[in-house]
């Protein structure tokens, strides 16, 4: 069976036959051939009907080799950054775009197979293709090779990871031994000794906090391409997070309540999202002196979003400050000078991570009435039997 009678009416556009197609289409095809991004167009069955020159150059496949083939199944074998296959029908971003009729909100970073077997890191934009009457007749994928940048960012991440270890180890020693001395675990202290050690301890805490945030910023800034998008078990991630923070809450005699719907899933970067949610829950515990911290997660079927809620009974945030707390280096006045040193990058990072996942964050708070942060992220329910990655 030839590709042409498999798809009557949606014939591929090989370059040499373009005189047979309408003039405006041919003109457009010439333009698309000249852009430096790889572009291909499929019909609704994801069979490739157009493949530009940049796509040939990036992937190594000529148009003759790909026209009529199923896009990623046969050719590029897209995976997420962790290597999970994306070509299954439900997960295929192109299929999803054609189903929903909506373009992908922001470019996806995927790995794709080149003809010579090498895996490229590609940034991919996807949009459904509509006929003049509005029917979805196919999909367009535009991609560029970001392997070099991704590799650089990988290196940067490794550097920050080892820098972090190198800086934290001596700090942990200093803080730990000062702690032991102040707890008189190593014998009684006189008042002057206690005063001096307390000063050293306080300054060490500040230093530690600043270094923390510096490192957080350092590994965060300019690393969009190193986002490892994969299918994430959000319910599991949040329950692990709650487990880790339980002791810190218990130490302050705070109740930590969790209400997590099972099987919540999304496409995202595990490390970054863990960083964001741990900042949110960590803040709630840090700034709440009595009462409870609530972590909830649910799925909103109307908007296909997961909703994560972090609520505390802390001091609350005045309305005029609620926008500003997400700005870089912003700190609430009443937290200055207390034991909670910081430069104010935590919530900035939270907001950036969430918006890089096409999500949004809201806050509901008033002085004396606690704070509730809500995070909305595009997601889905993934039942365990639907194919494990």
């Amino acid at each position: 069976m030839t590709k042409n009678n498999r798809n009557p009416g949606k014939q591929p556009f090989p370059r040499e036959n373009r005189q047979e197609i309408p003039a405006e289409v041919s003109l457009l095809a010439q333009v698309l051939d000249q852009v430096s991004d790889g572009i291909y167009i499929t019909d609704t069955e994801r069979n490739i009907v157009f493949w530009n020159q940049a796509a040939e150059k990036i992937t190594g496949y000529s148009q003759d080799e790909v026209l009529g083939k199923r896009c990623a199944d046969d050719i590029l074998k897209h995976t997420d950054m962790a290597g999970n296959e994306l070509c299954g029908k439900e997960l295929c971003p192109l299929h999803r775009a054609m189903q929903t009729g909506e373009p992908l909100q922001s470019p996806l970073t995927v790995k794709a197979l080149q003809k010579d077997g090498r895996r490229l890191v590609m940034e991919v934009s996807i949009t459904p293709l509509r006929s003049p009457s509005g029917d979805i007749i196919g999909g367009i994928e535009i991609f560029r090779d970001v392997s070099a940048r991704a590799e650089l960012e990988e290196k940067k991440a490794r550097f920050f990871s080892s820098l972090s270890h190198e800086l934290k180890t001596p700090l942990s020693n200093m803080q730990g031994y000062l702690d032991l001395l102040l707890a008189e675990d190593a014998g009684p202290l006189n008042d002057t000794q206690r005063e001096f050690l307390t000063t050293a301890y306080r300054e060490e805490q500040k230093l530690s906090s600043f270094i923390d945030e510096l490192l957080e910023m350092g590994r965060f800034e300019g690393t969009e391409y190193s986002y490892r998008q994969e299918i994430l078990d959000l319910s599991g991630l949040l329950s692990n997070l709650a487990r880790g923070i339980k002791a810190a809450a218990a130490k302050k005699a705070l109740r930590l309540e969790t209400d997590l719907a099972p099987n919540l899933a999304l496409f995202g970067d595990k490390d970054r999202l863990m960083q964001a949610f741990s900042n949110l829950v960590g803040n709630a515990v840090k700034y709440t002196e009595a009462g409870e911290v609530n972590l909830k997660a649910s799925f909103d079927r109307h908007s296909d979003q997961v909703v994560v809620e972090v609520a505390d009974t802390g001091p609350g945030i005045p309305e005029e400050e609620q926008e500003k707390i997400f700005e870089m280096f912003y700190r609430l006045d009443h937290h200055q000078g207390e034991g909670t040193a910081g430069t104010g990058v935590g919530l900035y990072i939270v907001k950036r991570v969430i918006s890089n996942h096409d999500g949004r964050i809201t806050i509901q708070s008033a002085p004396g009435a606690g704070s509730t942060f809500r995070v909305y992220l595009p997601g889905f329910i993934k039942h365990p039997e639907e194919g494990q990655s």
Binding site: K168, T169, D179
Partner: protein, 123 residues
């Protein structure tokens, strides 16, 4: 008085290892110190310890590998992971693999004891 519980301290930094061991002794536990992953695995399998405090970045075998092998050997004793905050991925992986809890450096010795008591079911 009951026998003191034996706690394996697997941490390659000598200062931190001594710090943790010192605090454990003060709290009535019996610390057993090792300074690399291989020794940690051997001690976990052979020393009949009640809990493990496990650093992630260690020579020869990292904490994740040690944890994996401990669980694969059918040992269900409490394991508390020590790591730096910038490695959430590791922490998440460790919890998936059956770690009971984690602490990020720098930590307060009291806090570590609180986590340990909780993991041992003493609170």
């Amino acid at each position: 008085m009951a026998e003191p519980k034996k706690i394996l301290v697997a941490e390659d930094d000598p200062g931190l290892n001594r710090l943790i061991s010192f605090k454990l002794s003060r709290e009535g536990y019996l610390p057993f110190s090792v300074f690399d992953g291989k020794a940690a695995l051997q001690a976990a399998l052979e020393e009949d310890v009640d809990a493990v405090i496990l650093d992630i970045m260690m020579p020869f075998l990292d904490g994740i590998q040690v944890l994996k092998k401990i669980r694969a050997a059918g040992l269900h004793l409490p394991v508390i992971i020590l790591s730096v905050k910038s490695r959430e991925d590791d922490l998440h992986q460790a919890l998936e693999l059956g770690a009971n809890d984690y602490m990020t450096k720098p930590f307060q010795p009291d806090e570590l004891i609180a986590h340990l008591k909780q993991a041992l079911g003493e609170t």
